[in-house]
Structure formats: C-alpha cells, structure tokens
C-alpha cells in the first residue's frame, strides 16, 4: 500500500471539508471584516440535526434515497435560521462598534450554541446511521471508499454552485460590491442589510452541507465538534487569504493535505519525538505563521488597500 498516496487522498477529502467550512468564514469576513467565530458551531448544529433526522427517518423505514435529502434539507433550514438569528442578535447591533465587541459576542454565541446542543442532544456521541453500505476501491495501491468519493463530489458540487452564485448572479454581484466598499455599494442602491443577511444564509447553508458530510466522514457527531473544526477552517481561510473565495478553497485543501501528511510523517521528521497526536497542531502553527509573516495569505489582496 502506498502510504504517501493514501495520505494525499485522505488529505484531499479532509481538505474539501475544511474548504466548505472555510468558505463560510471568508464570505462573512469579506463583507463585514468580522471573524464569525460562531460559524463552527453552526456546522456542529448541521451535523447534529442531519444525523438525528437521518436516524429517525431510517428507523421509520423511509428509504435512504429520500431520507438523505430530507436530513440535509432539515439541517439547511435549522442552520440558516440559526445563522440569521446570530447575525441579527449578536452582530448587527454592533456593526459600528470597535472590532473586539462583536468578537466577544461571537464567543458568547458559540458557548450558547454548544451548551444548547449539549442540553438538547446530551453529552454522548451521535453515530451516523449506516445507511450506505461501505465499499472500498483500490486506486494505485491506496484505498478510497464510496463514502469518501461521495463527500468529494458533494463538496465539489456545492463549491461550484457557490462560485456560480457569486460570479454570475445579481446577488453575487451585490455581495462583491459590498465586500469592496460597503458605503459605496449602499449609495449605488445595494441593500446592504439584505446582502449581509444573504451572506449569512448562504454561509449557514454551506455549513449545513459541511455538517452532514463531516458527520458521515467521521461517522459521528458531537456537541463540541464545532469549535476545533471552526478554528481549523478559519486557519484554512487565513492561509488562503481571508475574504478571498478561491483562497478559502485552496487553503482548505492545503490544510487538509498538510495535516494528513504531517500526521503521517511527523514521527519520522522528529525522530519519534512527536507522534501523530500532534496532528491538531499544524492548523494552529500555520495560523500563527501566516498571520505573522503574510497576513494577506496566499491569494489574498492586501486588505488594507481598501481603507
């Protein structure tokens, strides 16, 4: 079995999940210059809702082909409602406040969402119902499962859809204009509040998709899965260039590959001193290094030029 290829494939799949979540961060940042700290929790909500709806439906005998889309739809609805509420309650009143105020409310909202989820679903792990029979394929000595392929396809389709939305539609144009300069866009007749709400809707819908896919990837969902995931996805967005949509894709994929390769090889690299449990460290190291040495990220334009 080819270890390098295997790690690359794993990294790519993990990375596509990070990319999906990173998009949510980057879109909001592009428009509001706000780190939507609670985004990871929205992904968690998506995962919890989709897993529990899927479990309930399959238990009731609904066929998988129907149950899966229904579970996804439920997750999208709940995530969108949550996302919009968060924007309304915690961010909009503070839109002209100093940067730190909305960051602190965002942390508060994260704690609230996490604990509501814990009270609602309990502390135990929810396991993803085995609705799809796992098949494993052999690709050049590495293995890929049908679930992994499905994840990759759905993630790619979702991101393609987002790119179309942003580049080809009126809403997308309004979003880009608002990201360029909120005041001017407002003067040009763009309803800025609507655009911001739409951004949260789209971002939360992406989070719902990501939640379902992540739950299927790991086979479980848990009330505190959102935090670290959100932080990693944020790191990915920063790596690619925060505010930049292709950057989030690139950053997500890169982070996935780096983590996966890093976890595989860190033992060899450090002479056995550090083991694979240090996997989580890469995202934070990248975050610190990128922010310190190249805050604009790989594809980011210089954010300050806009000011």
């Amino acid at each position: 079995m080819d270890v390098l290829l295997q790690q690359l494939i794993n990294g790519l799949i993990l990375g596509s999940l990070y990319a999906l979540v990173a998009l949510g961060y980057t879109m909001v940042y592009g428009i509001l210059e706000l780190i939507n700290f609670a985004h990871g929790e929205i992904v968690m909500v998506g995962a919890m809702v989709s897993v529990s709806v899927l479990a309930a439906l399959t238990a009731a005998g609904v066929p998988v082909a129907l149950a899966l889309p229904l579970a996804l739809a439920a997750a999208v609805v709940v995530c969108v409602v949550t996302g919009v509420l968060v924007e309304r309650i915690a961010y909009r009143p503070l839109r002209n406040a100093p940067r730190l105020a909305p960051l602190i409310t965002a942390i508060g909202v994260s704690i609230v969402l996490q604990n509501l989820a814990m009270i609602f679903w309990g502390r135990q792990y929810l396991s993803f119902p085995p609705v799809i029979e796992v098949r494993v394929y052999d690709v050049l000595g590495a293995t890929v499962s049908n679930i992994q392929i499905l994840i990759l396809v759905v993630a790619a389709l979702t991101m393609g859809g987002l790119l179309l939305l942003v580049n080809r539609t009126r809403l997308g144009r309004a979003m880009r204009a608002t990201a360029q300069n909120r005041e001017v866009a407002g003067l040009m007749g763009v309803d800025v509040n609507r655009v911001i709400a739409a951004t949260f809707i789209v971002g939360s819908a992406l989070a719902a998709v990501a939640g379902l896919l992540i739950a299927s990837y790991y086979g479980i969902a848990h009330y505190n899965m959102g935090f670290i995931l959100g932080l990693k996805a944020f790191s990915a967005a920063v790596l690619g260039g925060i505010g930049n949509i292709p950057g989030a894709l690139l950053g997500g994929l890169l982070l996935g590959v780096i983590e996966s390769l890093g976890a595989g090889y860190i033992g060899d690299l450090t002479g056995g001193f550090l083991g694979s449990h240090y996997q989580d460290i890469f995202a934070f190291l990248i975050l610190i290094l990128v922010l310190t040495f190249r805050p604009s990220g790989l594809l980011g334009e210089r954010v300050a030029d806009r000011a």
Binding site: L94, P98, P102, G108, I288
Partner: protein
C-alpha cells in the same frame, strides 16, 4: 493654580486605599464567617476566588489597560502551574522549594509572553485574539502529549502529589493551632492568597497610574497618535503582554501547589474565556470592577449547583444538569453585556464608554492599524 485643581489621580488612589482598609478588616474575618454559615467547601471556593482575582487582574493589564484581546491567557497559567508541578512532585523526584519556584515560574511565563508577543503584537486586534487562542491550544496539545518518549507532563493523567506550600517548614495543607484558633488548610491558603492578591492589586493600581499605565491607555485609545507622541508602541504593548503573562504564571504556581494536582483539563480555552468574562463583565480596565467580576464568576457556578436540588423540588426531576446550565448562562451573559452594558457591571466613571460605539470617528481610527495605510 496647581493646588486648586481637583487632583483626580491622587484622589482616586486615596479612595482605593480607604476601601482597602475597610475591606482588609472584613476579609480577615471572612473565612470563619463563611465556614460557620456555608461550610468548609465555601472556604475553598473563597480561595479560588482569590486566585481568579489575581488572574483576572493580570489579564486586565493586557485587555483592559492596553486594549489587546488575549484569548490564550490560560497558556501562561498552565506554564506557571506545570513549571511548579514538574519541579516539586514525584514526577522527577524533584522537590524544589515553593518560594524559589513561584517567582521562577512567573518569570518563565513572562518569557513565554515575550516569545509569543514579539512577532504577533503588530497584528490587528481580532487577528491577535485568534493567534493567542491558537497559542493556547498548542500549549495544551503539548501538555497532553509530552508523556512520550520522555514523560515530562504525564499526558492527560496529569501530575499528582504536588508539594504543598510550606511556610517555615509547615505544610499549609495541615491544620495548625495559632493562639488557640484552629486554622485549617483552606483557611491558611485563604490568608496566603489574600496577601498575594493584595500585593497584585497594589501593583495593578500603581501600574495604571504610572507613565507606563498612561502609555497603555494611550495605545488603547489611538495607537497611531500614541506612536506619534513618542511611545514605542511595540515595546509598550509587549510590556503589557509580559506583565499579564507574569501574573498568569504566578497564579499557575499557586494553583498547582494549592490543588496538589494539575492536568491539561484545567487549561482549556474555556478557562481563558472564563477569565476574560471576569474582566469584561466586571468592567474592563477598572480594577474594582475586575475584582468584582472575578469573585462573582467564581461564586456563581458554585451557587448554580443548588439549581439541581431546586429542580428536583419544583418539577420532581433534574431536567437540566446545573453544570451544563452554568456555561450556557456564561455565554448569554457575555452577549448581553456586550450588547447592553459594554462597559461592564462596575465601570470606572472616567472611562465608562470606551466600548460604546457612539463616536464613529473614533471607531474608524481604531480600525486603522498603524501601518495599514502604507501596506
């Protein structure tokens, strides 16, 4: 002319001193009153309250005085705690004296603060917050995993049987009789912590009303103007970071010796956020407010334990685990305070409104960082 002017700085200090005096008398009797009224567990809770007052005052230097949001404060707390735990426990069979290790631990934490701050302090506020958060997580991951190949931290199990504080050969954990009064472990720790807390409060007040304290405030208000007035903003910010880290390390050493046990569980992000809550809820930058915040938030979760029995009585079962409810309430409180009382529960009368967005110009200035314009 000078003599006629109301002397705000000095008057503030005198009020603080007077409050100090009255409080000191009350505070000496407090553990006995508390034990009589609520039981010995509450004396321990009091001890923790003192510990958190020290930590919150340390973070307040960074967040309240200098206006830098540090979400990884617990990392410095952890460094102080593990430094003591490793060098005064059976982990390596070392039992170095508490009074030597405590300042050293604070010094090491200070060094960590400088190491983290030096490259990152030029970042804009929210980026800095995220970077410090990442740093805190990295420290925790290391604590969790540094049990192999050489067992330094003993991994997730943590380090046990840490040496207690000793004063003149007497271990503070043992009860002692002084002038016919029984002093239990928690009581003795209370007086030790109280003394140190008073020192920390004293230092914080003096720092605030000093040349350095004014420089911190100036940076918080307008970094560009502060720099233009000759303040070496990077160094002065670094100083705030280092001071905060030092206080954190100090608290860590005390925590390890008091608890006798440390594990990575005690140093999660939630702990950082909790200490931040104490600062924000109490009143950023206002020392009495921060003290109030720390005491309130240490007591609150303990008080919430009674929510369980209360539910039992009212609806016949425990519907919501009180410890679950506790974090939920913290989250709600954070949001509400930012929305409706951004200046905190007990803000200073002078700086009551720094977080209130009533001056768009000021907000805009705050959002431009120093060299943004040129990059």
């Amino acid at each position: 002319m000078i003599g006629l002017l109301p002397d705000r700085l000095y008057r503030d200090r005198r009020i603080a001193w007077a409050a100090f005096g009255v409080l000191a008398v009350l505070l000496i009797a407090l553990p006995f009153l508390v034990e009589a009224g609520l039981g010995r567990t509450w004396v321990r809770i009091l001890d923790f309250a003192m510990l958190y007052v020290m930590l919150a005052l340390g973070l307040n230097i960074v967040v309240g005085f200098a206006g830098l949001l540090d979400l990884g404060y617990v990392a410095f707390y952890a460094v102080g705690a593990y430094f003591y735990a490793i060098l005064a426990s059976p982990q390596f069979g070392l039992h170095l004296p508490f009074w030597a290790l405590l300042p050293m631990g604070a010094g090491i934490a200070c060094l960590f603060g400088v190491l983290l701050g030096a490259p990152t302090l030029r970042l804009r506020g929210d980026y800095l917050a995220i970077v410090t958060l990442g740093f805190g997580e990295i420290i925790r991951i290391f604590l969790n995993n540094l049990n192999a190949p050489v067992n330094v931290t003993n991994g997730p199990q943590g380090i046990n049987m840490i040496d207690p504080v000793r004063i003149g050969g007497h271990a503070l954990t043992r009860p002692i009789e002084i002038l016919g009064v029984q002093i239990s472990g928690p009581h003795a720790h209370y007086y030790l912590f109280l003394g140190l807390t008073l020192l920390v409060i004293f230092a914080a007040i003096r720092l605030q009303h000093s040349r350095i304290g004014r420089a911190w405030a100036a940076i918080r208000e307008d970094e560009v103007a502060a720099e233009a007035m000759g303040i070496h903003t990077r160094n002065v910010k670094l100083l705030a970071f280092a001071m905060g880290a030092t206080f954190g390390g100090l608290g860590g050493g005390l925590f390890a010796a008091f608890q006798g046990f440390v594990s990575p569980e005690s140093f999660t992000l939630m702990e950082s956020i909790m200490i931040l809550c104490m600062v924000v809820l109490g009143g950023m930058g206002h020392i009495p407010g921060v003290i109030l915040g720390a005491v309130l938030l240490t007591m609150l979760p303990e008080a919430l334990r009674y929510v369980g029995p209360l539910q039992q009585e009212l609806i016949g079962r425990v519907a919501v685990d009180p410890s679950d409810l506790r974090m939920l309430l913290f989250g709600v409180a954070l949001v509400l305070v930012m929305l409706f009382r951004p200046q905190g529960l007990w803000p200073s009368s002078m700086r009551a409104r720094e977080l209130r967005p009533d001056n768009p110009d000021q907000v805009r200035q705050e959002q431009e960082s120093l060299y943004d314009a040129e990059r």
